[in-house]
Amino acid sequence: MRKIHILIFVVLAAFSTAAWGGTIDRIISITPSNSEILFALGLKEKIIAVTDHCNYPKEALLKTKIGGVKLLYEKIVRLKPDLIIGLYDAQKRDIDQLRKYGLNVLSVNPHTIKELEEAILIIGKATDRVEQAQKINKNIEATIDKYIKEKSKNSPLVFVLINEKPLLTAGKKTFINDLINIAGANNLGAELTGSYPAISVEKLISANPDYIIIPSFENEQYQGFLKDSRLKNIKAIKNKKILFINADIISRPGPRIVKVLEQIYKYIWEK
């Protein structure tokens, strides 16, 4: 099913840019992840606007803003973009609406590292930066080659804390699950149903994970969870094997996401 989606997007992408003709000079990104990809493709000069949430790279902060959760359609139209890049799953309605205004919208929808590479290539093709896109993908693959580890019987078990109350973790179809597996560990949430499933305290205690990974924004402490007396005998908490990762990076399907792989690998195997 997902494969078909990707195929459709590739075809659509090819079609929409072909229909557009001329070169792409005015790009608006309506998703932080796509802003990161565009900047990585070296399109700094051609990006004319981004969202309120786009904070990486720093240059993104200086760009014109076209709204946050609610996009300001009037402003987008006024800026006369020749290409808008969005994220399909999260922004279906916005994308449909912008197309109704006759704008050229390209959407990508990656859920795994492989799909991310395809998405980067699609955006690269649409913006005439194919070489740059291939370079980024090579870097991603190089990082993976460097920090890949074969799994064994003794592979450690990792619990990803997405939310304290209710207790949520990361399931199968998530980037963090991908990265944990590449780093040669097992993700506790992978046995559960859904991408961010709820998990019971009992299940967490009985699974007894070796590591806990917490995607967090600045100043988030998670003391309630870490000091929970019911959890004090869990290996990861007893041995203080808690890894905080940048929630911005892991929640955005962009080129930076493999940095988290490096972090996880080093934390588990080099410490």
Binding site: D52, G67, R78, Q97, N163, S195
Partner: protein
């Protein structure tokens, strides 16, 4: 008149400044078929702003009319358009569309969800061919809870879509298009025709079922027709703009406080006032914080509540024709 003035002002306001002269030129140009020099401005005024301000009026009218009908036919001042679980049903439909993604439209599924819930509620409330208002309200609320529970379950299994679902529920008019405006206008128009046709009978219904019966009104038939109209109005409104709270509850009360409850006047004024309230609120939602758009429900509550409370404290209607009500039908 006030509505027209506000409509004009609203058409000039938005995230991008377009000067009034250009706005008029664009609208005139569209009517006579002349292209405006700047295509982006043309899109902003004609494709974004105009459908949106007009849709605000129509939706405000639909919700208020639906609220008025429900309050009158069920004889309960607490009725709002979503009282029969409509909003939860629509939210459930929308959430399913959002989670499944693909080609499933959010609006059509929300519409179906709302209708399905209402239909189930009717089945429960229908006892020996007659609709029992108390059972209708209670089963509406309980089916509403049930669909909320299913919605919560869906959200829990797909937290990634939480934001989309949440923002759908907050409601908003930013997806307005001419097509939607057209469909909604038809709903409102048909609704108005039906309600005006039954206005006299609605007046009688307020006096109580027995009195109405003795005056030759088929209470049950009127009630069912009116409920169907109200449900269709709400289902369509909620499928287009999500849940916009408050308008449907308070506008009928405000109007009744001002002119009394003769349905001939109340209907027209309720629709106009509802349209006005939603238009003003949506305009403020667009401009009150620079470069950000806030959910319109927040504004309707901020404007509506103080005004409503002020009116509640007044004993008499502002314009005195409440007394003529009984003779007015």
């Amino acid at each position: 008149m006030l509505l027209v003035v506000v409509l004009l002002i609203s058409s000039l306001l938005g995230a991008v400044a377009v000067n009034p002269l250009d706005t008029l030129k664009i609208i005139w140009g569209k009517i006579v078929g002349v292209q405006f020099s700047d295509q982006s401005l043309e899109t902003i005024v004609w494709e974004i702003r105009l459908p949106r301000v007009l849709l605000a009026i129509v939706l405000g009218g639909m919700l208020s009319l639906s609220g008025l009908i429900l309050q009158s036919t069920l004889k309960n001042p607490l009725c709002d358009p979503y009282i029969m679980g409509t909003s939860s049903g629509a939210a459930l439909g929308a959430a399913i569309a959002i989670v499944l993604g693909g080609s499933l439209g959010v609006s059509p599924l929300a519409f179906l969800g709302a209708l399905l819930v209402i239909f189930i509620v009717y089945l429960f409330a229908r006892i020996e061919g007659a609709i029992n208002p108390d059972i209708l309200l209670l089963s509406g609320i309980s089916i509403g809870f049930l669909s909320s529970a299913v919605l919560t379950l869906i959200v829990l299994l797909h937290p990634g879509r939480l934001k989309s679902i949440y923002f759908w529920m907050l409601g908003g008019l930013n997806f307005a298009t001419w097509d939607q405006l057209f469909v909604c206008s038809i709903f409102l128009f048909v609704g108005i025709i039906f309600v005006l046709f039954f206005a006299r009978k609605l007046n009688v219904l307020i006096l109580g079922d027995e009195v109405a019966q003795s005056l030759g009104v088929d209470v049950n038939r009127v009630r069912i027709i009116m409920l169907v109209i109200a449900s269709l109005l709400t289902a369509q409104a909620v499928s287009v703009a999500g849940i916009i709270a408050f308008v449907g509850l308070i506008v009928p009360h405000i109007v009744k406080k001002i002119v009394g409850i003769n349905h001939r006047y109340t209907i027209v004024l309720t629709i106009l006032f509802g349209g006005l309230l939603l238009l003003v609120s949506d305009t403020l939602a667009k401009i009150i914080i620079a470069n950000t758009e806030i959910p319109v429900g927040i504004i309707t509550a901020f404007i509506g509540t103080p005004f409503f409370l002020f009116l509640l404290r007044r004993k008499k209607t502002l314009i005195r024709n409440y007394e003529h009500n009984a003779q007015g039908f």
